[in-house]
């Protein structure tokens, strides 16, 4: 019967092209608006570390001002101090642990290898990190691997390239063992990772959650030899005399992001004890003046805490759902008008043996057809909406303002669901009308 209903629906829609177009437009616009914001919110709510959500933890230590907690939802600084990071790295409890921050500098091919082509140095976005980074975040290597073991503590001039940087510098060849020039210093390539662009950038949420991820990776032991100041937030609360780089490293400034991998409950329990002990120890030395507090947040919790999906996004979500609601009410009104206009036909069908259910189904199928058409156009509108957002956001949301198959299917689903909902009352109403009044000649 479904095929029959569909052919009847198409015939009926063709008969009132203007009204049908109005309804399809209403559904399409509503779905387009709703799906644009839903897609943004959905993409922004993704968790690239979902598969390790139970074992990875972002670490926070509350070393803040005794008079006032840090001003963010977690009431703790987002990052840790350099000296605490160095101490924590010595713990052997976590399976993996990473201390890191954002940095950057000019990179070029080593002059000795740059004889042929003329390659201008360019500024590369860097991540200065301890060597477990790749293992902890599950980043596969295309060539080679991470740097040697002592690179976390001594200035080892080794570098890992992203796939795109390797393409740019070495045309995608296996560059392990080759030399690049970073900030005027030769670095040996030890590895090239596969394309890795989590979005939102869960491992580094305080430098633009949707920015591009790093192009090069440098060992954590380089700080002193390069006097590295991070390309990211440095926050402090305490008046400190900073007279040298060593003072900066020994200060209460927080600028290091810290992650640990803890695989079992037992391990987690031991690490909590370890952190408690560590803070007590520091308190004994006059640091950590606030009540003892630390944070271990799973990636999913970390995304929430950092409010990656901000108020504007969520407000737009509500607004567009309200918009869809108006479009639905509109569709209900128009469908009701359309169906009531055909009440006589429904009466004839009833007389010829159609049950109420059959009449109801027939009209619901008609609504569904409108929904399907609305959904398809809605997808186009969503794509246009997302393109507009990409343009308005000047590239910042490029990684999230795009539709995957799931969202396309959802758009059609939403459209059909909406139109079925919209058709429910009109179809019910028409199936309930007494056929006999339409059979008499008026």
């Amino acid at each position: 019967m479904l095929g029959y209903y569909i052919s009847l629906a198409l015939r009926s829609l063709r008969r009132t092209p203007v009204l049908s177009a109005l309804m399809v437009a209403a559904i399409a616009v509503g779905v387009g608006a709703a799906m644009t914001t839903l897609t943004l919110n959905y993409m922004m709510s993704r968790n690239a570390l979902e598969h390790k959500d139970d074992v990875l933890y972002a670490l926070q230590l509350d070393n803040w001002d005794p008079h006032e907690a840090d001003d963010n939802p977690s009431a703790m600084p987002w990052q840790v101090t350099y000296k605490d990071a160095i101490s924590l790295l010595r713990s052997d409890i976590p399976t993996h642990q990473v201390a890191m921050h954002r940095w950057g500098g000019p990179i070029s091919l080593d002059p000795s290898q740059n004889s042929g082509g003329e390659m201008r140095p360019f500024t590369a976005e860097a991540r200065v990190t301890s060597r477990d980074f790749f293992a902890l975040f599950d980043i596969p290597f295309l060539y080679g691997g991470s740097w040697q073991g002592d690179a976390d503590t001594s200035p080892v001039q080794q570098i890992v390239l992203s796939e795109s940087t390797n393409n740019k510098l070495f045309n995608g060849e296996n560059s392990v063992g080759r030399t690049v020039n970073f900030s005027g210093t030769p670095f040996t390539v030890v590895g090239v990772i596969e394309h890795w662009q989590p979005s939102p950038k869960v491992h580094d949420l305080n430098n633009g959650s949707f920015n591009k991820s790093a192009e090069i990776f440098l060992p954590f032991g380089l700080h002193r030899s390069f006097e590295i100041y991070p390309w990211g937030n440095t926050n402090g609360w305490k008046p400190e005399d900073i007279n040298s780089y060593e003072d900066q490293l020994g200060s209460e400034y927080v600028w290091i992001q810290y992650w640990v991998q803890l695989d079992s409950d037992e391990q987690r329990e031991r690490y909590r004890e370890y952190l408690t002990g560590f803070i007590r120890e520091q308190k004994a030395q006059g640091r950590f003046p606030r009540p003892l507090k630390f944070g271990l947040s799973k990636p999913s919790e970390w995304l929430q805490l950092n409010e990656v999906v901000d108020g504007d996004d969520r407000m737009l979500n509500w607004l567009s759902l309200a918009f869809l609601l108006v479009c639905l009410v509109n569709a209900v009104a128009l469908l009701l008008a359309k169906f009531l206009r055909k009440a006589a036909e429904a009466g004839v069908r009833r007389a010829l043996g159609a049950s109420r259910k059959a009449v109801f189904s027939q009209h619901l199928v008609e609504s569904g057809c409108i929904g399907l058409a609305g959904g398809l156009i809605g997808i186009l509108l969503t794509l246009a909406g997302l393109a507009l957002v990409r343009q308005l956001q000047m590239g910042y949301l490029d990684t999230v303002a795009s539709m995957d198959w799931l969202m396309m299917l959802s758009a059609i689903g939403l459209a059909i669901l909406s139109s079925l909902l919209a058709g429910l009352y009109p179809a019910w109403r028409i199936s309930r009308t007494n056929p006999s009044i339409y059979l008499k000649t008026q």
């Binding site: 009204l19 109005l22 437009a25 209403a26 616009v29 608006a33 008079h67 006032e68 950057g104 000019p106 070029s108 201008r120 140095p121 360019f122 500024t123 020039n181 900030s183 005027g184 210093t185 390069f226 100041y229 305490k238 008046p239 005399d241 900073i242 007279n243 040298s244 780089y245 900066q248 108020g311 504007d312 969520r314 407000m315 737009l316 509500w318 607004l319 567009s320 309200a322 918009f323 609601l325 108006v326 479009c327 009410v329 509109n330 009104a333 128009l334 009701l336 008008a337 359309k338 009531l340 206009r341 507009l388 957002v389 308005l392 956001q393 000047m394 910042y396 009352y425 000649t441 008026q442």
Partner: protein, 401 residues
Amino acid sequence: MLELRPILSALWRHKISALLIAVQLGLTLAIVGNATVVIQERIERIARPTGVAVTDIVTAQFMPIAKNYDRLEAFRLDLDMIRQLPGVAAATVSRAPLTGGGSGTGLYTAPNQEIGATGGAQFWGDEHLIDALGMKLVAGRAFTPNDITEASFSSGWRPNMAIVTQQLADKLFANGEALGQSIYFSGEDNPIEIVGIVERNLGPWPNSHNAGSTVFFPAVMDTQWFDYVVRAEPGQREAVAKLLEEKLAERDPQRVVAVNLLEDKLDRYYAGDNTMIQVLSGVVSMLTFIVALGIVGLTVFWITQRQKQIGVRRALGASRSAISRYFLLENLMIATTGIVLGTAAAQIFNRFLASEFEQPALPLSTTAICALILFGISLAAALVPALRAANISPAMATRSV
């Protein structure tokens, strides 16, 4: 001749359809009203005066290729060169404001305090700073060449004087006598005298609640976080930008140079607000359009349904205008119901948005204006079908449908 009673009873028979239109109008009012206040707020936010010559300023940075690079020497040579360039009105090395990147500090009006700081954004610059940013000095003086120190973050240097914005001055010294007073960093007793007050500077983060509280210190900082702030003569910024790119690379090729227009950076900073404005405006206009179409659709439908009735009325002597008036009055009553529902819904929706997303309150005046506009749109949408209804021939009365 008002014929309300027959209209009401006719509406009552179409109560569901009429209610659907009213609900649509109501929801639309709720959305449009709330979107309007958000749009208004964002437009006002973007339109705020920044205190600097946004449209004339070009910024430039470089990153040295060599590891140990004498930045201060480069600053001196670059600035000497830049100031000679045609089209350049003033130049300094500081950090570009309004871009979302910068630093802040806490200030006190008495020495050795650690609680209750007044927050402010901080900048460093030389004697050309006020001129290069195009700021307006309202009291005191600018920095002189003798005031300027070359320093770095790890050199332990402390300023002994500062210029502040009027807003910060008022926050620090409520009595309005900030000029000549001293301010202090947290926990320190080194006095910093306020030697000048500028009218305004929104600082690095125009959308922060503290934007506009800004302090300037007389120093050239040896830091990788610097910008050459170059104010071009009006209309010259593109030429200056091009020249800067060329000349900076030419003076020392061993570095990567980036040149930007401050206005582009500010646009980028406001991209989120701008997105909200555009998206919400789009939502408002589409919504109004959809609702108007809905009203047209339903009025047309009702009229076709009542063709015979209209014919009978015409045959019994109703004038054309009486027929049009009938449908317009009908629409008016539906719209009124919708607007009443919508005013309430708008307030409820606004409470929700205000509490959840810190959106501005919806004033009654905005609701009233939106309501009036919707009223007009609703009547306009009904007008065409209503006028067409007047053309239905009295002969319809005798035709069987």
